[in-house]
Subunit: 364 residues, 2 copies
């Protein structure tokens, strides 16, 4: 890790007319200094002024972990001990009573810290840090594209094992335990595991349950992990022994929708147009009411980040963006289906990082 | 779960002179309505007005999960779909342009939401929600005490297995994997796992690494899980085959410090006095500089919550409070030691919920 991201972020702080950006434990912090800090009641905060040297405030007992991350090679480390007030410490460094100015805080900083900072710095404007780092994080550099391809291949290898796991008589939770081990064998950590069998597949964010798999169940498997700091996220649909009635037709529509949306990806196309491309195919087939979520989300150091592929988002896609294309169709009380690949925006189109077949695979 | 906690919280909203308390995904939300929502970029928010019915706003695709939690039996569920602005939706319900008033937000709500709410509700005062729920959460009711005893016994049973896991030649990570399974066999989820062997034990928040255990290593094992919504957190020290030089003496001081602190616990005693009780014993033995953290933290639906057992906290202990007593001594580059039990404040003293021996146990 080098100082390039910090330099670019400091330039963004200046161009947004801010005095400083304050970054708590989050993907933003990992992105800037490589430190995967734990968000908790003790304040950890990277202070990135527009001018001057950035510094990282950590609780004294987290200092060894911060140093082990190598963050101290990039920014000065300062620690606070158990009886100090870390908010007052930050406020003292930021305050110029003659010119209160404006600061931004990272989006996922706990509100308790932002409210305390606001109280300690009356007159200072507080803004969301998302827009400041947005332009940096939304377009991936070549090293990040390499990382996203690698983690995409990793989750491909996990999905290749799924048909062997989905046997009638096993519970979703048992399958998830095996998936956890497989994800870990290919990643540094598990991000999430969804095994939605039968009617559970009709809830897009159902995680896992003790439901027992039965022949004729459709099973939505949506899994992701983190490898070298970058996230995977991939969904495929399986059927235990045989497909339930109507599922083949529904899935064929979904395959066409996902493919159409991916083929619509290119620099200069609005994000909303990718959502519309998938939605139009599904609506034309009569399933429009059953596609109840956005088509995708950006991915990188966070599983969900900009750009969001959703109606109303007129942002133009650009080379180096990375996001999911994941239309779904959900039939309450029966089953659901979702096909999800991560794509990278290339000079003139899209590159998929996932390459497993997108058809329903028989399992068990 | 019944409405008693919601009623008490609404009374607290009124007594704090607030119009409403806004609660995002957090232990606060679990505490109030039993819904373990995922904190993410899509807003989930419980709106608890001082007067009138509370309601829970969820992203449409989280509605099935919210209903599965039973939260809809307690509060009205409202969902927002992918193209709506949930902040505007909340602001509309809260705004009385004639009387802007004040609201509190839960401490761990992401700042991006609080900043957006502030922008949507100019003139409205925003405060930290911690103090509003503090009085409710800090004193446990009889059912909560039962849950804390049960989860304390669960982590006792896990620690009973630790000596069999710490063999020379194994890595901390291998031990942690086994601990994860053992914790899960006794809890609903794993909260955290620290295996600090040899010099790694000198960093209180070291998690796990690929360091290989060797004979003569001291090993700090600090583990916790969640069972029926309540947390365990317990630390013991082990030695692989034999104790390193000086460790027995250090540990004897620590045992005395922990015991002295627990015996100091009683209603009416300031939290800081418990910290001082442990610290005085350690300082008198010449290790004062090596006890680098507070003595404890409250525990309940969060692993760390009020009351904090730390110098400067003059809050008086009261019957029903639950917290850790966990002094430690850390010798850089050599080893560390920490003894941690959860105690409940009784009518006239303390009840430990952990009952394993506090001496160093030989392993391997």
């Amino acid at each position: 890790m080098d100082r390039r991201r910090l330099d670019a972020a400091q330039a963004a702080v200046r161009s947004h007319g801010l005095d400083a950006l304050l970054v708590g434990p989050s993907a933003d912090l990992r992105y800037l200094v490589g430190y995967d800090a734990h968000a908790m009641e003790r304040l950890t905060l990277l202070v990135l002024p527009g001018e001057g040297d950035p510094w990282l405030l950590v609780p004294e007992l987290e200092a060894p972990a911060a140093r082990a991350s190598g963050a101290d090679q990039l920014v000065e480390l300062r620690s606070w001990d158990e009886t100090e007030d870390p908010v007052a410490l930050v406020a003292r460094e930021l305050t110029d009573p003659a010119a209160p100015g404006a600061v931004a805080v990272s989006d996922r900083l706990f509100s308790v810290f932002t409210l305390a900072l606001q109280e300690a710095l009356p007159g200072t404007g507080f803004r969301s840090g998302g827009p400041v780092l947005r332009a940096l994080r939304i377009r991936k550099d070549p090293a990040e594209l390499v990382a996203l391809r690698a983690v995409g291949a990793a989750i491909d290898r996990v999905h290749a094992e799924v048909p062997g796991l989905l046997r009638a008589g096993r519970t979703e939770a048992e399958v998830a335990r095996d998936l956890g081990e497989l994800i870990l064998s290919e990643h540094d950590e598990v991000a999430f595991i969804i095994v939605g069998s039968g009617p559970n597949g009709a809830s897009p964010h159902h995680a896992v349950s003790d439901r027992v798999l039965a022949p004729g169940d459709a099973v939505v498997v949506d899994i992701g992990g983190v490898k070298d700091g970058y996230c995977s996220d991939m969904t495929r649909n399986y059927a235990v022994e045989h497909l339930p009635a109507g599922y083949a037709e529904l899935h064929a529509v979904l395959e066409q929708a996902q493919d159409t949306a991916v083929r619509a990806v290119a620099p200069g196309v609005p994000a909303a147009a990718i959502d519309a491309a998938a939605r139009d195919v599904i609506s034309a087939a009569g399933y429009g009411e059953r596609f109840i979520h956005r088509t995708g989300h950006g991915i990188g150091v966070d599983v969900h980040e900009d750009p969001y592929i959703v109606g109303g988002n007129e942002e133009l896609l650009a080379q180096g963006m990375a996001f999911s294309v994941e239309p779904g169709i959900y039939v309450p009380d029966r089953y659901g289906a979702r096909i999800e690949d991560i794509v990278l925006v290339t000079e003139d189109g899209a590159e998929r990082v996932n390459h497993r077949p997108r058809t329903v695979l028989l399992a068990g």
